[in-house]
């Protein structure tokens, strides 16, 4: 059992190193290098710039240096925003993203799961149809459509929330709802179908046949089983939304990780692109690992399977 976690942990590190390596060489494969775009720079300045950022070293030395930095959580300087390091950008952007993402995650779980359950218990009722219609809409609506829709209706038309920024608590409403829309719908659908599946299971019938109260049958016997697939989805999802949504942050103009990442992509700020990608990937695989741990706690069958 402990073995299993150690094995998984090793593969987590391996994955992070691999992602960092791939990203590093991908960025170095771009013709021209980081300074040759936009205005042409004189060769002398270019040389100085390359010296300053150690780009005149052989590629393998650069790679090793980068990896050394990575080991000490140093992701290097930004090439485009002078005097700023990638670490600083992450430290600046991550709290904003995490705040929105955390609230969205809470909303997704605390609303998505219950409505999924209710919908399953009231299968084929009007409530079920409404929930399923909304959820289907939610998973087919791209997030930018939802986000802009929210801005238009609630910020522009009725002026209930500010269209951009996080000035007051009201500023959080739009981004959080827009960010959770897809996942909330997905979780509701998933919970519903999982719950329906579980309610058909023999052990639920056994519990009923043993006189267990309907509430306990659902809350104890069915729910724990029904939540297993939901957790599988929710874990990586939380990782993805905590690190910020490119779209939502753009639409609501929030200074989060996503905005910095998109900016770095359009500015061709390669160190920021590498750094943020590695950060995303690392955060993601660690979260997936944690989910696996949680998973094995809830489902006793997992441990033996490994």
């Amino acid at each position: 059992m402990g073995n299993y976690y150690i094995k998984r942990l090793i593969s987590v590190f391996f994955t992070i190193i691999l992602i960092a390596t791939i990203t590093f060489f991908l960025m170095r494969a771009i013709p021209g290098g980081p300074f040759t775009r936009e205005r042409p720079v004189s060769p002398a300045i270019l040389e100085n710039l390359e010296k300053k950022y150690n780009l005149d070293d052989p590629l393998i030395i650069q790679y090793l240096n980068y990896m050394k930095g990575l080991a000490t959580f140093d992701l290097g300087p930004s090439f485009k925003i002078l005097g700023t390091t990638v670490n600083e950008l992450i430290v600046e952007g991550f709290p904003t993203s995490a705040k929105i993402g955390g609230l969205a995650a809470i909303l997704i779980v605390s609303v998505g799961v219950p409505i999924g359950i209710i919908s399953a218990l009231k299968q084929n009722s009007i409530i079920d149809y409404i929930v399923m219609f909304g959820a289907t809409l939610g998973v087919t609506l791209p997030s930018f459509v939802l986000a802009t829709g929210i801005i238009y209706i609630f910020a522009v038309k009725y002026e209930l929330i500010p269209p951009t920024g996080l000035g007051s608590w009201k500023g959080y409403i739009g981004p959080v709802i827009a960010l959770s829309g897809y996942s909330l719908s997905f979780v509701a659908r998933l919970t519903r179908s999982s719950m329906l599946e579980v309610l058909r299971q023999d052990y639920v019938r056994t519990a009923r046949a043993n006189g267990i109260s309907e509430f306990k049958v659902i809350a104890k016997h069915a729910l724990k089983n029904a939540l297993i697939p939901v957790i599988t989805y929710v874990g990586p999802m939380i990782a993805a939304i905590l690190t910020g949504s490119f779209v939502i942050e753009k639409v609501f103009d929030l200074p989060g990780m996503g905005t910095y990442f998109v900016d770095s992509v359009s500015n061709r700020d390669y160190t920021v692109i590498i750094g943020m990608t590695v950060f995303y990937a690392a955060f993601y695989v660690v979260m997936v690992f944690l989910v696996d741990v949680a998973y094995s706690l809830i489902d006793p069958r997992i441990k033996l399977d490994s």
Partner: protein, 338 residues
Amino acid sequence: MNKKLLEVKNLKTSFYTHLGEVQAVRGISFELEEGGVLGIVGESGSGKSVTSLSIMRLIDSPGVIKEGEIIFDGVDLTKLKKSEIADYRGNEISMIFQDPMTSLNPVYKIKNQMIEVIKRHTDMTTAEALERAIDLLKQVGIPDPVAQINDYPHQFSGGMRQRALIATAISCNPRLLIADEPTTALDVTIQAQILELLKQLQKDTGMSIILITHDLGVIAEVSTNVIVMYGGLIMEKGTVQDIFYNPQHPYTKGLHKSIPKPHAKNDERLIPIKGSPPDLMNPPSGCPFSSRCDFAMEVCLTDAAPGYKISDSQSSACWLHDAESPVVEGFKKSKEVL
């Protein structure tokens, strides 16, 4: 004669699917005395499982008990509220199911699942309930109950799971145990063990058992009385001796011919019953077996036969018993209709 424990009167259960009404059970009546073991036999779709689930009131939407009474110890179970019937389940009436692999909740320990049931119906503390559960596991033949009660279901084999399920089912000393195909999913050797266990438990506790199966051999092993169901109706009722040595209904006879016998001669061939069971969405107005019956008469296509009394213990729903019908060898005439 012992006291009547269960009396089912004209039970009709239907499922309202989006394609139409499926009449799974179409009006059956039978009774079970205290300490009796009733076998219900029939092929898949004959309504035998629905009958047992109806008794437990475990018919799920879109299924509905349309008509009839189920009188258990003087109380009509069909009239009880949900909370009231829950007090019977697992307590007065218990049930075990076909597939022990899926009938235990995979995410809870055996201990947890047993204690929950015991505490539900008794005033025991958790410690007492645990002790009781260990006793029960020992009683059903789990080799090391003290340790194994802490296992999860996936750590048990199929036979052990069925034993654990039986232990749970009898934990509150039920007066009726319904076993729905309890051995079908198990290996043949395990089947015999489980049947032996059920017989032993019946002897020890004196509870009544309804044993549902498609396997005549299993019935012969355990039951005292037998009901043969087909197409949602009872074809024949009787004691084990009646049904095995003096079957009166063409369907029961057909069943006998289609199962292998241990001492059969070489030239004795198995004769399958041709055709397939009726569509219960549009059940035939007459006898459900008429389309497959060698002796089908015009009346069989239009009217279902009433139960003709063959003896005190036996009755058969076939027009061939009617005095006016042609005489066929092997079918007794009867004047009395139940």
